[in-house]
Structure formats: structure tokens, C-alpha cells
């Protein structure tokens, strides 16, 4: 028997709970039993085999390096013993699956585990399972789509076994980390899972509507492995019987579920009951319309109407963005991501290509920063296959790749990445001969790209074509040819269409007007994925209006939601605009006013004057009030935030000169193991307000990384934050390393559990009880210099 012949049956029966059956003693790890008491595990396998299970899950759920950390159990040994044990019982009558569960650590950005560490951990597990002779791999009980992807890629890249994937959902239809059912289905089908489904967390009645939803998003066979109802907190038992369990699963057969088993609380009797109930039942599943969709780890965007791709994260022609990339200022990218999200973009393009930037290093870094602050799916924009691959690996979900073109070198290097990582692809209708002038020729290149992608097994719904917007001022026929090509691609090939809209108006006055007019024409011609600036005047308005008028906005709901509460006048501020000064705007924490007054002041005064004679004195006023107990933390931060918006305006104006105004560079970080970074971020805000250049290394930063940054930037001061007693050790270690490798550099430390005495004992130069104290110490350090 092998997996593919098993799959020819109407139904395949899995096993039920392992932990339930092992009757573990307190503190006993199931994975230890593979080596210490294999007979106990074998008895469970035997019971499931006797009950009719056709795939036995080996006792390897937690057999990974991270989960077994500190237990003294070697995952590879435990896995080898577990598979051997299960195979002996199966003896050709059932298949044996390597069972792979979560690491127990959450991946960045929710937790501290990196994609690479998760991948390495799973690679070891997958290779051990394959070497021991597992017939297939099941990855189950996952909550984080990125962790699922790390496990899946480890299986795909190091074994040839079929992989079944199930995740655990709450009744809301999302996992604990917010992954919707649709995103799981889109991502795993594109990656190449053999079957997908839902396990654990809920009973079969609660999972039923979730399974119906899942069947709407995939053509893959489905897997159901529910719990025996819900647990009781006093008895620890589950609340439904084998018969109730089986009866609740019967309707699943009409939704494409082929694999049936049980999870927590289920026993061989449950499997027996399920087999009995399904005996003689003919499976069916509802017809599925093919659809295009992309997703992040937490949001799916269905391409059933024009969807806007935000273009702001791209350095081309944007000095401030270029500078941010060169400075490694990821906060600037995060902000652009947030603003575009709030403006109504559906997808964000991410392009970091600019001279002096190593795209293969920075593109994944940018992706990681952006997914911290937005749910939107991303379009990874680069012509460098290495950069694309690095970003594709750590992207949770199904992204778009922008782009491939008709050149042989591009087709040969990009399309395999699309297939391997399960992405959608934008094809540019140009080739070795450049951009053809006529719609006819662009259509022909598009068709060629389509055929090549289809031949690799990339589904048609994931292939989008960009017929290229040409500048209207250089060729009067350009716009018409582009629109003709778009229209033909849409009608004749039935593909999604992409256009960068604003290129149309390059070199002409009143660009916004032309952009809007062209956007209207393009949408009417069949453009489905306009790439544009969602903050530019009228662009989102045009798209929303088009959706409504084209009958794509049911009950006009999205349009009404966007406009019904629109204020008729500009928001008012508390003081009348004429008598408010920049100082008072900062003192009172009024962000918009601070920004507006700074812009006005810049017309008459030098930026340094504004900083030294208006902003700093205002901050000092609030700082003095804070120290005197007249103002408190919220007021202090509010003022700092207002000052920050004033500095933002100043920076925008002199994007290049900022280095000369810096009062000094300071490296700050939350130490390794610690993920609480709000305190550190408050410190950063205040230091920047006072004119220091802050190199923010983020949270959970290893000692060596901090020391390397201090040396690279030749700083005189390093600020470290730690919140927990368990992480102040990492702080001490960082300071010691700094003293050894970069002597003379001062350190300031802060965080909830620290005290003056403790700070001294670990060799810190200053204990800062709050953010203000850090600024005071920075002033002392840089005056001494």
C-alpha cells in the first residue's frame, strides 16, 4: 500500500488522540516514551489499527529541537524509534506518518523565533522522519501560517514525501494568531500540500461551518480531525460520545472531506464509530468557481473587483525613501505601510532597489518590518531573483511577485520561484527587443508568458499581466495601445491586469488630473490591479466610485462606509489657529498643529533655529513639568509625539543635511530574550526629539549585534532595555562584551525590574528611571566628548 493508492478510496481513516491514550504521568513527555517505553506507544497504535485506522500518526508531535529543549531527548533518536515502532505495528496494513506539531515558540513578529531558526528546527525533524522510513508527513495543530510554511518548506526541500497540513481554528474562523481559513487554503495549495484541513481546538459540531468555508477555497482533499467536544476544567474530560462525534462528522462527506480522524479526547472507539457512520456514504463536494486571490498571514484579498496596489514603498524618484533605506530606517517604511493601509490600499508593493543597497539582505528585512504593522498582502518588487527568494521564504502567506518579463533569462529564473514558493506573478509585456509599441505585440508577449507559466504548473488565476503604461507626452498613441492591450488580456485571456498608473502623466503639468482620467479609462478597459499612490488626491475616490458604478459594491456598502462620516470641515484644534505658537502646540501635544506651524516657520527661519529656539525649549518646559510632578508620562509622550511630527516636517525639507545637525549617535536595543519594547521606543522618541541620531536595533537583540553596531557607528553611548528578571542577564552579558570589544563606550540601562544598585552591579554607567533620565544622561555624555 502507498499513499496515492490509499487516496483513491472515498474515505481515508486516520487515528485519534495519542496523549489521551498514553495516560501520561505528571511531567512525562510523550516523546520520551519512544525510547524508554515503546510498548506503551505500540499498544496505542495497535488499538487504532484494530479500530480501522489506515494512517497511524507516529508519536512525534513534539519531537523537535525547540520543544524538547532542556529535556535531554534527542529529536532524531526519538523520531527514529517512533517511526520504527509504528511501522512494526502497521506491518503493511496501514501507513505511518511523521507527525509534526508546532515548536511551541511564536515566530516574529508575534514572538521572537526567526523563520530561519524555525526552518532549521523542522529540517532536522523532517530528515529524521524520512530517514526512518515514514510514508508521509503530517504537519498539524499549527496556528501561525509562517510557522506552517517553515515546516512545509523544510519537508518539501529535504524529503519527497507527501505532506498533509492541518491548522487549528477558533469559532471565529481564525487561528489564535489571526490566520483566516482562506489564507491557509490559498497558501498551502500554492505551496503544494497533498491535502489540507482542520484539527484540534474544537469539536466536530463547531468545526462544521469552518469546513464548509474551507471547501470554498481549495480543490485539495480535506482533512477533519476534531476534538471529542470541549474539555471540562474540573474533570479534564471531553464532552461528547463516539456516536455523537461520528454523527456530527457525517455531513462533512458532502464538503470534500476525505480524511477522517480524531484529536484530543478521541479514542479507537471514535474511529470505529466514524467508519461505521460513513460506511456506504458517497462523497461529494460543491462546485468551485476558479478565483484569483492573494493573502498575508492574517488577511485574504479576493481579486473579484479592482484592487489597489499601493506604490509608496519604492525609492525610485523618492529622496526621503532612498535615505531611509540607506539609513536602515525601517520606521519610515512602517509608516508608509500604515498610511497606505489606512488610505484604503488592498495590497502593498515593496521595492527597495537603489544604489548602495544589498537587495537580497534588505528586501526580507523590509518585509519583516512591514508585516509588523499591516495585514495587507504584499507584492514583492524586484528583478533580483536572490532578493525575491529571500523575501519569499520569510513571507507568511501568498504574495505577488513583481515581476517576470518575456526575456528568456527572466522566465527561466523567476517562474521556478513562483512555483516553488506558491506566489502569484506579474508578467511585464516586454522582452529582449524592449517594449513593443503596439497592443498586438504586447498581447503576444503576455500570451507567451502565460503559456510558460502554465507549463510549470502555475495556475492561470495566479498569472497577472502588466501591459505597461507609457508616458502620454512622448507618444500620442501610447495610452490607447496600452488600454487596447489591457482590454484584450482581460477579454481573451481572462487574466488579472496590472498597470502603474501615474507614469502616464510624467513630464506634464497637473499630473493628478491626468492620472485620475487615465485611471478611469483603464478601469473601464479592464484594469483590475492599478498600482498607484493611495494618498494622492482623488485616486482612491476614483476606484471606489468605479467599483460602485460597475456593480461591484454590494448595496454601495464600501462606498458609504468610506464617505458617510467624512467631516465637512477641516478638523478644529483647541486653540484658534492664529494665536497658537509652535511651542504651545508641542507643549499641548497637538500633532497636526505642530506640523503645520513648523511648515510655516520653515518659510521664514532656518531649521536649526526652529529646533533650538522653539522645539527644544518646548520639550524642556514639558520635561521640567514632568520632573516637578505637574505633568505625567502621557503628557510627556504626547508632547514628544507632537515634536516628532514637527521634526518629520523638517526632515522632509532637508532630507540630505540631517547628518550635520545630529548631536551624536546612540545605539539602543531591547536585550536578547526580551520582547517588551514600548519603553525603549519611548526613549528613542525622546532622544530623537533632542537631536540625537538613534540607531534602533529593535527587540530581542543578541549582545554581539549590539556591540557590532556600536563599533560600526562609532557611538559614545549604548542604551539597553530589559523588562524581566530572566532577561537582565542578557543585559549584563551585553555590557561585558561591550567593555571587552569596545572599551570607553558608555551604557545607560532601564526597564521595570532594574534598580540603581543592580545597574551598578552589571557595570552600567547610568541607571535611567525613565526616558527623561536617559536624555539627561545623553546630554552629559555628549558634552564630555
Amino acid at each position: 500500500m502507498d499513499f496515492s493508492s490509499l487516496c483513491k478510496q472515498d474515505f481515508v481513516f486516520l487515528d485519534g488522540g495519542m496523549g489521551t491514550m498514553l495516560h501520561l504521568a505528571p511531567g512525562e513527555l510523550p516523546e520520551a516514551l519512544n525510547l524508554t517505553d515503546p510498548k506503551r506507544v505500540a499498544a496505542v497504535h495497535q488499538a487504532y489499527l484494530d479500530a480501522g485506522s489506515q494512517i497511524l500518526y507516529a508519536n512525534t508531535f513534539g519531537a523537535n529541537r525547540l520543544k524538547l529543549h532542556g529535556s535531554g531527548i534527542d529529536p532524531t533518536e526519538s523520531i527514529a524509534a517512533a517511526i520504527r515502532n509504528a511501522k512494526q505495528i502497521a506491518n503493511g496494513k496501514a501507513l505511518v506518518a511523521l507527525d509534526v506539531g508546532p515548536t511551541g515558540q511564536l515566530l516574529h513578529p508575534a514572538g521572537t523565533l526567526s523563520f530561519d531558526d524555525a526552518y532549521d528546527c523542522y529540517r532536522e525533524t523532517m530528515m529524521a522522519g524520512a530517514n526512518a522510513g515514514a510514508d508521509l508527513i503530517v504537519i498539524e495543530t499549527m496556528s501561525d501560517l509562517l510557522e506552517m510554511k517553515a515546516a512545509f518548506l523544510a519537508a518539501k526541500e529535504h524529503t519527497t514525501l507527501p505532506v498533509l497540513c492541518t491548522m487549528s481554528f477558533t469559532e471565529t474562523g481564525r487561528t489564535f494568531t489571526g490566520c483566516p481559513i482562506s489564507a491557509m487554503a490559498l497558501t498551502l495549495e500554492a505551496l503544494g500540500a497533498a491535502a489540507i484541513g482542520i484539527n484540534c481546538s474544537l469539536g466536530p459540531r463547531e468545526i462544521y461551518p469552518l469546513m464548509q468555508e474551507l471547501s470554498q477555497w481549495t480543490t485539495l482533499p480535506l482533512i477533519a480531525k476534531a476534538n471529542a467536544g470541549l474539555p471540562d476544567p474540573v474533570t479534564g474530560g471531553y464532552d461528547i460520545s463516539p456516536e455523537e462525534f461520528a454523527a456530527a462528522l457525517l455531513p462533512y462527506a458532502q464538503y470534500g472531506v476525505q480524511f477522517f480522524g480524531g484529536c484530543c479526547g478521541t479514542t479507537p472507539d471514535f474511529i470505529r464509530a466514524v467508519r461505521q457512520v460513513l460506511n456506504g456514504v458517497s462523497p461529494t463536494r460543491p462546485a468551485l468557481e476558479p478565483k484569483s486571490a492573494v493573502c498575508s498571514g492574517t488577511k485574504t484579498v479576493l481579486l473579484d473587483r479592482p484592487r489597489v496596489i499601493g506604490e509608496r514603498i519604492n525609492p525610485t524618484g523618492k529622496k526621503r525613501m532612498k535615505q531611509a533605506l540607506l539609513d536602515g530606517d525601517m520606521d519610515y517604511l512602517r509608516n508608509e505601510a500604515i498610511t497606505q493601509t489606512e488610505s484604503g490600499a488592498d495590497i502593498l508593493d515593496v521595492n527597495v532597489g537603489t544604489p548602495g543597497i544589498d537587495e537580497a539582505a534588505v528586501l526580507p528585512q523590509a518585509v519583516r518590518a512591514i508585516i509588523e504593522v499591516t495585514d495587507l498582502p504584499l507584492q514583492l518588487d524586484s528583478s533580483d531573483p536572490a532578493a525575491l527568494e529571500a523575501a519569499l521564504r520569510c513571507y507568511p502567506g501568498k504574495p505577488i511577485i513583481n515581476s517576470v518579463c518575456g526575456k528568456e533569462s527572466s522566465l527561466a529564473s523567476i517562474l521556478p520561484l513562483v512555483k516553488h514558493y506558491g506566489a502569484a506573478i506579474v508578467g511585464l509585456t516586454l522582452d529582449e527587443n524592449g517594449i513593443p509599441a503596439s497592443a498586438e505585440e504586447r498581447f503576444a508577449i503576455g500570451k507567451r508568458i502565460l503559456e510558460r507559466a502554465l507549463a510549470l504548473g502555475i495556475p492561470k488565476t495566479d498569472i497577472y499581466l502588466d501591459c505597461l503604461t507609457m508616458t502620454a507626452s512622448t507618444d500620442p498613441n501610447g495610452p490607447t495601445e496600452t488600454l487596447t492591450a489591457v482590454s484584450r488580456v482581460r477579454k481573451e485571456l481572462d487574466l488579472q491586469t496590472v498597470l502603474g498608473v501615474s507614469n502616464i502623466s510624467f513630464g506634464l503639468p497637473n499630473r493628478p488630473l491626468l492620472n485620475r482620467a487615465f485611471l478611469n479609462m483603464a478601469l473601464s478597459a479592464g484594469l483590475t490591479l492599478p498600482i498607484l499612490n493611495p494618498m494622492a488626491e482623488g485616486m482612491m475616490d476614483t476606484v471606489r466610485a468605479y467599483r460602485l458604478l460597475a456593480g461591484m459594491d454590494e448595496n454601495c456598502a464600501a462606498f458609504i462606509a468610506a464617505y458617510q462620516n467624512q467631516p465637512t470641515a477641516a478638523p478644529t484644534s483647541t486653540a484658534s489657529q492664529s494665536d497658537m505658537t509652535l511651542e504651545s502646540a508641542v507643549v499641548h501635544g497637538l500633532r497636526q498643529d505642530a506640523a503645520r506651524l513648523t511648515a510655516a516657520a520653515l518659510e521664514q527661519q532656518d531649521a536649526l533655529d526652529i529646533i533650538n529656539h522653539m522645539l527644544i525649549p518646548a520639550l524642556d518646559t514639558v520635561g521640567a513639568d514632568y520632573e516637578a510632578g505637574r505633568a505625567f508620562l502621557p503628557q510627556l509622550i504626547q508632547a514628544a509625539t507632537a515634536a516628532q511630527s514637527a521634526f518629520g516636517v523638517i526632515k522632509q525639507t532637508l532630507a540630505v543635511k540631517q547628518e550635520s545637525q545630529s548631536k551624536g549617535k546612540i545605539v539602543i536595543a531591547t536585550v536578547q530574550g526580551d520582547v517588551h519594547d514600548i519603553g525603549k521606543n519611548i526613549v528613542k522618541l525622546l532622544l530623537e526629539n533632542y537631536g540625537y541620531t538613534v540607531i534602533d536595533l529593535g527587540k530581542d537583540v543578541p549582545p554581539q549585534t549590539i556591540v557590532d553596531a556600536a563599533i560600526a557607528h562609532q557611538v559614545s553611548l549604548v542604551g539597553l532595555s530589559a523588562l524581566m528578571t530572566t532577561t537582565v542577564g542578557a543585559m549584563a552579558e551585553t555590557i561585558a562584551l561591550l567593555h571587552a570589544q569596545y572599551p570607553g563606550c558608555k551604557t545607560v540601562v532601564g526597564g521595570a525590574v532594574l534598580t540603581e544598585d543592580y545597574a551598578q552591579s552589571i557595570g552600567a554607567d547610568c541607571y535611567a528611571k525613565d526616558a527623561k533620565a536617559t536624555v539627561d544622561f545623553a546630554k552629559r555624555v555628549y558634552k564630555e566628548d
Binding site: G236, C264, E372, R591, F632, P634, Q638, V675, I678, I682
Partner: protein, 220 residues
């Protein structure tokens, strides 16, 4: 969760401020609404037998480290382990706010701290209902007194909290999602109110946590 369930005085306590001006009050109200809209609190708990060995108390076979927990659970025959999380959505909300508007982030952080407390209280009520004949101690968490943070993984394992509510712990003992709590509550047949014990009996003068407790009234 609704904003009405939150306690504004407690939130001001977390913010370290006795009052807020109009702008900040409006911002706080908004933070409360935003958080309540984003939060999907999840909790689980289970009761376990307590045993006294020569080396100290064990809970379902798990040795409880430190002397303070022994004091806390004096006279108890069983204990409940509870875990509560506001979920990753709240972490994400605060993370996003930090990149955009630190004031909003600080307000959300304080609101979330109070929201966790409120969820804990509702779980305690649930436990009370299930044990109408027992007296409950105050909540006691890893990190209180000499009950070490290193107990966190064991407590989560007892509850299978990763599978049940998506709560995990990092190798440095930190709960993720961050706005989460685990705690022990002792159950006994006799009254247990005793201010020498940890946890808030609002008996600050006797409490060993008084120096850095976020709940103590702000000196005016």
C-alpha cells in the same frame, strides 16, 4: 469586551497619572474603543490536586518552587491553574501604534493591562461558580515573591495552553502574546483571607509586593 467593563482609575494608575486633560481623555476613550473592538480574550483553567511532599508542595505531581507559594497555598487541598490572553491582535495593535503615534501606543498599553485584569476577574468568577463550597485564595503568578518565572513553561504545559488558547512562553520565560497572565488559585474548605499572602487583598501595608505593585493607590 466593552469599554464599560474597563476601569478608568486603574488605567490612570498604569499610566502613572492622576488626571488627563481633555485631549488625552478623548484619546483614552478612543484607545478603549479600539482595544475592545480588537480584543478576543481567551482563557482556560483547570483544577488539580495539591500534595505535600517532604520537599514542599506538588501540583499534579509538579513541584512548586520557592517558599512564598507554599505560604500562599497553606490549607489548600487543590489549586486551579488559569491562563488568560488578550491574543496576538492586541500585540499587533500596540506594535502598529508605536510606529505611528506613541501617545496612542502608551494609552493602548495601559488599557490592555487593565483589560487582562478584567478578564482574569471574570475567570475567577467562573471558578467561584464551579466551586461554590470552596474558599479561593488570591491569584498568584510566576514572578511573585520567590515563585520563579522559570515555572511558566510547566504551568502552560499543565493546561496545554498552547493548543487551547494559543499562549506560549519564550525560552527566556516571557509570555507571548504579551498581554497574558497565568496564575494559581488555591482552593480550601476553610477561609483563607490572610494579608500575609501575596495578591491583592488591598492590604498594602502587609503585602510583600507593596514596593512595585502597579495596583497600589498612587500617593496623592
Amino acid at each position: 469586551m466593552t469599554p464599560q467593563q474597563l476601569s478608568i482609575p486603574d488605567i490612570l494608575g498604569y499610566l502613572g497619572t492622576p488626571t488627563l486633560d481633555d485631549t488625552l481623555s478623548a484619546a483614552l476613550q478612543q484607545a478603549m474603543d479600539t482595544l475592545c473592538a480588537a480584543v478576543t480574550p481567551r482563557s482556560c483553567w483547570q483544577s488539580f490536586p495539591l500534595n505535600r511532599a517532604d520537599t514542599g508542595l506538588t501540583l499534579a505531581g509538579l513541584p512548586l518552587a520557592g517558599s512564598d507559594i507554599q505560604t500562599h497555598l497553606q490549607g489548600c487541598t487543590q489549586a486551579v491553574v488559569m491562563a488568560v490572553t488578550l491574543s496576538d491582535a492586541v500585540d499587533r495593535l500596540i506594535r502598529t501604534a508605536q510606529a505611528q503615534d506613541m501617545t496612542q501606543a502608551v494609552l493602548l498599553d495601559a488599557v490592555a493591562a487593565d483589560a487582562v485584569e478584567q478578564v482574569c476577574e471574570s475567570v475567577v468568577q467562573e471558578i467561584r461558580t464551579r466551586f461554590p463550597n470552596c474558599y479561593l485564595t488570591e491569584r498568584f503568578s510566576a514572578g511573585y515573591g520567590d515563585f520563579p518565572l522559570e515555572m511558566q513553561p510547566d504551568l502552560l504545559r499543565l493546561l496545554d495552553a498552547g493548543k487551547r488558547i494559543g499562549l506560549t512562553v519564550t525560552q527566556s520565560g516571557m509570555l507571548v502574546p504579551m498581554k497574558s497572565v497565568t496564575a494559581l488559585i488555591g482552593l480550601s474548605a476553610q477561609p483563607t483571607k490572610d494579608a500575609r499572602r501575596f495578591g491583592c487583598g488591598h492590604a498594602c501595608a502587609l503585602c510583600p509586593l507593596r514596593d512595585d505593585c502597579p495596583h497600589r493607590p498612587i500617593p496623592s
